[in-house]
């Protein structure tokens, strides 16, 4: 078992969830509630990572975050943080690649809130922020859980984009998926099998735990389920 790769994978998955969640919440609410000029373009940009092959996204990401890329040179010069072939670059790529997985479940949950509930909130004297915290957030909770499950498990299994942007540097960019690939290339079937089973176990546990969490809100009897 390659524990170094395991911790790289977990670090990347957690960082992706933490960075993506607030961003996805804001964007999902805007997309669900508002009509604006150019909305179709934002929709296309969000869905693009689902349609494009990971290697294509990886290639353009590499161009963007490489030392000569706009983002890469900016980050190196002003923030002193190199992106290409580093964990920070992996996380950035993972955030972009997971945009649709984070936004769509939350957007659907926001869209499902009936407008008269928000009106009832206003007539209870709630401010917009209070209404968001006390009405909207609890009601989109199952959507948030679905998004977290999808993003976390999807990040665990990312391969193409990770290989393009991060390569396979032990302890920095080699994730479990890359390590499994390396083991197979080296005909180490036992090693590949152990790590694959481990990934399967982690993914299943995460889905089960978050599914349980999503049911806590309304009580077990009527709890919403992960979509």
């Amino acid at each position: 078992m390659d524990w170094q790769s395991f911790w790289v994978t977990i670090k990347m998955a957690l960082a992706t969830c933490v960075i993506l969640l607030p961003f996805a919440l804001i964007l999902a609410r805007i997309m669900a509630r508002h009509e604006f000029y150019g909305k179709w373009l934002v929709e296309v940009l969000i869905i693009l990572p689902l349609i494009l092959p990971p290697t294509v996204i990886g290639y353009y990401m590499l161009i963007l975050i490489g030392s000569n890329g706009v983002l890469g040179s900016f980050s190196e010069t002003y923030l002193n943080v190199p992106l290409a072939f580093h964990m920070s670059g992996l996380v950035l790529a993972s955030v972009i690649f997971n945009l649709p997985f984070a936004i769509y479940p939350i957007q659907r949950a926001f869209a499902a809130i009936e407008s008269n509930l928000l009106e009832a909130g206003a007539l209870c004297g709630l401010s917009r922020w209070q209404s968001f915290v006390k009405i909207e957030l609890p009601l989109v909770w199952p959507g948030i859980v679905s998004a977290l499950v999808l993003v976390f498990t999807h990040t665990l299994g990312e391969f193409g984009i990770i290989l393009m942007v991060g390569g396979s540097i032990p302890g920095e960019t080699r994730t479990l998926s890359i390590a499994i690939y390396d083991r197979v290339q080296a005909f180490d079937w036992n090693g590949a099998n152990t790590m694959s089973l481990f990934l399967l176990l982690i993914s299943s546990t995460v889905i089960y735990c978050l599914g349980f969490l999503s049911r806590l809100q309304y009580g077990k009897k009527d709890g919403p389920h992960i979509v």
């Binding site: 009936e114 009106e119 009832a120 206003a122 209870c124 006390k134 309304y218 009580g219």
Partner: protein, 236 residues
């Protein structure tokens, strides 16, 4: 028994073009029960939403109990700042909150006040239930308690009995008649059931196609309808 009513203190006069064309002029005394009566699509609920501040009329003014809610200069007081409560047609109870929490949200999350309301309506044993676990009549009562818990000056009821069976409707109507005498607010009730209007109204506004056709007491309307259309609408 005649109820004590003050002089006119609520005046609304507004014009709306979207989502439907609507022109309405209403006046109410404190503790008065006014009924907006008309066929489906006549603009009753839209008028109610304008009074609540959920829709901004194109023009007009609303003066409520020495407070301006809207004026011709474009000033518009949002719903959350108005002393108004509303019982929605489908009750709009928050599904993630228990019965007492639904009520508490309208009274600065004061649990004691919320539970007192439940006791007053003999529903304290259902305080911990979620809306899904309540019957139609129970939901209606919780929605009414939530509306009253905010101590409104104006209570808006949007066809509050339409989603329950006829037996429950009769019981709820009687409860509302009893409650009416103890209410310290003006009430605007939307209905297309003339029997309901007869039971509850001090004054009736007949609406059709976004316009008020006639205003008066039940007796005035029944004895002296001003047009065939009014006669048709009230069914005499």
């Amino acid at each position: 028994m005649a109820r004590r009513m003050g002089r006119t203190l609520f005046r609304a006069d507004f014009v709306l073009t979207k989502p439907i064309a609507l022109s309405a002029s209403l006046s109410l005394k404190p503790r008065e029960v006014a009924v907006l009566f008309g066929p489906s699509g006549s603009g009753k609920t839209t008028a109610l939403r304008c009074l609540a501040g959920l829709i901004k009329p194109k023009s007009g003014s609303i003066e409520a109990f020495s407070t301006i809610w809207q004026d011709e200069s474009g000033f518009f007081l949002p719903a959350r700042h108005r002393q108004v409560s509303m019982v929605f047609q489908d009750y709009a109870l928050f599904p993630h909150l228990k019965a007492w929490q639904n009520i508490a949200l309208a009274c600065s999350e004061n649990e004691k006040v919320a539970r007192d309301w439940l006791t007053r309506f003999s529903m304290s044993d259902l305080a911990e239930q979620y809306p899904k676990e309540l019957s139609g009549g129970q939901k209606q009562r919780v929605a009414l308690m939530r509306a009253l818990a905010r101590s409104p000056k104006l209570l808006l009821l949007d066809e509050p009995f339409s989603a329950v069976d006829s037996m429950t409707r009769k019981v709820l109507r009687q409860e509302l008649i009893k409650l009416r005498d103890s209410l310290d607010c003006a009430v605007v009730l939307v209905t297309h059931d003339w029997e309901e209007a007869r039971l509850l109204a001090d004054k009736v506004y007949i609406l059709s196609d976004g316009k008020i056709l006639q205003t008066g007491t039940i007796q005035e309307l029944e004895n002296n309808p001003q047009s065939d259309q009014v006669s048709q609408i009230i069914g005499i």
